[in-house]
Subunit: 416 residues, 2 copies
């Protein structure tokens, strides 16, 4: 029997007014209860996840993608901890953002309100199911989730538990909805549900995001694609540079805040390259370098134009030499995905120039790009990393899932 996408979206839209007015206490009660149920239900979730992993291995899924898909008790514990953290965060709904009186005596209050119904399209990571629900729910929104077919069993197991938590607390379980279909046509249908869904947030690979941007009639917030750069300035401290590169490149390769491209000032090549080459060899990173950098990097391959723009999501990295910080900035602004970029320097003027001119959501000085993350920013969790400039940029937490309205009160004022 065909899955009815419209039916699910319609039910979600019907739930929006109730969910938008739930008290903070009830919302927190649901989140804490859901956290407990997830931990208690770990066995069931892991059984479902094992099915997904087994199917993934049969389909020759890459190791980095299997790592994204894989759950274990510790990761389920992290998911539950994410829900508890969101319960502990202040409720953004109703916050007065501004308040002023006009000369004619009308009083204007700008108040934070939920967006309404938020659609999320994501790939292999089943933890997104609980994270996305928690953030949407705490900010007064209904969520409609469409995870990757790779993770469908894990997502169903998690969603069932979330809906049970809602019901147990006397809340409409349609606050969270899963499009439980592996049919590509259903995904396309979902992206046309403009009448029911207020915003669609894709979370995953560049390909997924492009497909959503191109096919959705619902307004989209672009997220996730990360060709993150590290620029080694001529005044870099190499003792800081190497551990940051190792961390940003190798700690977890399948994530959007991993570094993919290195840019090096020509004046520091002699001092920097030997240590860099050794570190990358030690960590098994394949390098794609331009001619001048390649001379210092035995085993590297020549970089193509494509390499500079590539999000490898693997133990690979492009390397490019520049004559100046200005050239580095131009190169990065040309090839990056406006996600996260970092300068390694001890020169405050260079740092300031980089912070000012790099057109990314997160611009770093002497810090690993891996920190671009809702947890690391203290948002409790994240729905994704926005790489666009409208509405929200960078890690999106609770506030980024709200809108506002103006409440205007007076005493018979008319316009002259």
């Amino acid at each position: 029997m065909a899955y009815n996408v419209e039916e699910t979206c319609k039910r979600a839209a019907n739930a929006r007014y109730t969910i938008g007015t739930i008290s903070t206490e009830t919302k927190n009660e649901v989140l804490l209860h859901a956290a407990d149920l997830l931990v208690a239900g770990a066995e069931k979730i892991l059984a479902a996840n094992a099915e997904d992993l087994e199917r993934g291995r049969r389909n020759h899924m890459k190791d980095s993608l299997l790592d994204r898909l894989m759950l274990n008790e510790s990761r389920i514990g992290q998911i539950a901890e994410g829900l508890r953290q969101v319960a502990g965060l202040p409720d953004p709904v109703g916050e007065v953002l501004d308040e002023f009186e006009r000369p004619n005596g009308i009083r204007i209050r700008k108040v934070r309100v939920p967006i309404g119904v938020i659609g999320i399209i994501y790939e292999s990571r089943p933890n997104v199911t609980a994270d996305a629900f928690a953030l949407c729910f705490k900010s007064g929104n209904v969520s409609v989730l469409k995870g990757g077919s790779d993770a469908i069993c894990s997502n169903q197991a998690i969603t069932e538990i979330l809906r049970k938590a809602l019901k147990d607390c006397g809340v409409d379980p349609d606050a969270v909805n899963l499009i439980a279909s592996s049919n590509r046509e259903d995904t396309k249908r979902f992206m046309q549900m403009r009448d029911y869904i207020d915003v669609l947030i894709p979370r995953g690979s560049a390909g997924l995001i492009r497909a959503v941007v191109e096919n959705s009639s619902i307004p989209v917030i672009e997220t996730g694609s990360g060709n993150c750069h590290i620029y080694i300035d001529k005044d870099a401290d190499i003792e800081k540079a190497i551990p940051i590169i190792i961390n940003a490149k190798t700690q977890r390769t399948g994530v959007c805040n991993a570094a993919e491209s290195l840019v090096v000032h020509r004046q520091i090549l002699d001092r920097f390259m030997p240590a860099f080459s050794e570190a990358m060899k030690e960590h098994g990173v394949q390098l794609f370098a331009d001619e001048d950098a390649g001379k210092f990097l035995p085993g590297s391959e020549p970089a193509t134009e494509e390499d500079y723009a590539k999000e490898y999501l693997d133990l690979m990295m492009s390397v490019k030499c520049v004559d100046s910080i200005e050239e580095a900035i131009d190169h990065i602004n040309r090839y990056h995905t406006k996600h996260s970029d970092c300068i390694i320097t001890e020169d405050p003027a260079a740092a300031e120039l980089f912070l000012e001119l790099i057109d990314s959501a997160c611009v770093y000085v002497n810090v690993s790009t891996r920190f671009t993350d809702g947890f690391e920013f203290g948002f409790g969790a994240e729905i994704g990393i926005s790489t666009q400039k409208l509405h929200a940029r960078g890690p999106m937490g609770l506030k980024e899932l709200t809108s506002y309205k103006y409440r205007i009160t007076g005493n018979g004022q008319v316009r002259g």
Copy 2:
């Protein structure tokens, strides 16, 4: 010779980094100088405007549209005054929106930045040309303007003056660009310039906005379409109600914040209707009423389903009776355009319910809907009234034309 849309958009995109870093002083100097040049150039502008009006009359343009198109010395004075007001407003660029340190010692600053290149598609009102430039420029953005072909001569005259003001102050005149073409294909081409334009803001009729939403590959902020409602509660003060309705309906009919629909509580019909009927007759407003309201309204026509959803932009209004405030809220949330809606009541509980549940950008208690306006809100001017929930809602001024980025500084931190 065909107009080269891509060439204009490319030049605009090239200007973005320079324009994004101009000092507040220079920006204000440009705006004040442009205001002076507009007033000094009034004769030239009015001559161009006369051409547009003449063409409009030949094409049998409606009076309300001719009113939108028409300039005179007083309106040019208002346009110049708008520029001066924007010069007097604080520069939003560089504002620190948030600043915090994480336990690992990294410092995160959230800073306001320009969006980049903003495209505006609008209709007959030539004042938008100067308003849009002023707001985009003060917020560090480059603007690409596509006005209606009705106003093409007026828009060219105004844009020439703005570009001269920029040049006189030593600023790249490509900070403001007009797509000076009346060819519909050029408008379509403009909406595909995703590589150069960061956001597209349509400003005009429901038809224009729909066309932009459907045809644009650039992210769009929906604006302007206003089916504004006034609800007369059973506890309304009729002395306040009548002047508010007259003002909202008749003061200026061709604007998006004019009232189009009246909803009346059945318990107040006897007391309210005679005064309402008389006032509307006096102001020449044609009413479209449901059966029960129609009994009180000689000369009214029966309302159809279509009338409830209609933005007349004329001396016409629909009238609907309800049994309760809840029914009124449901009716309004069903037919409105999420722009501006008003309750007339002396009951604070009814006012609060209406403010809470009406899903509009601006919700009013005992105030004319005509106040939904950037000037009236004290924003200096406005680029439009957003009727969507993403990014910005209601009157959009300077802050609504910015994004932000995170500047993160540390001392070698890596993620554990």
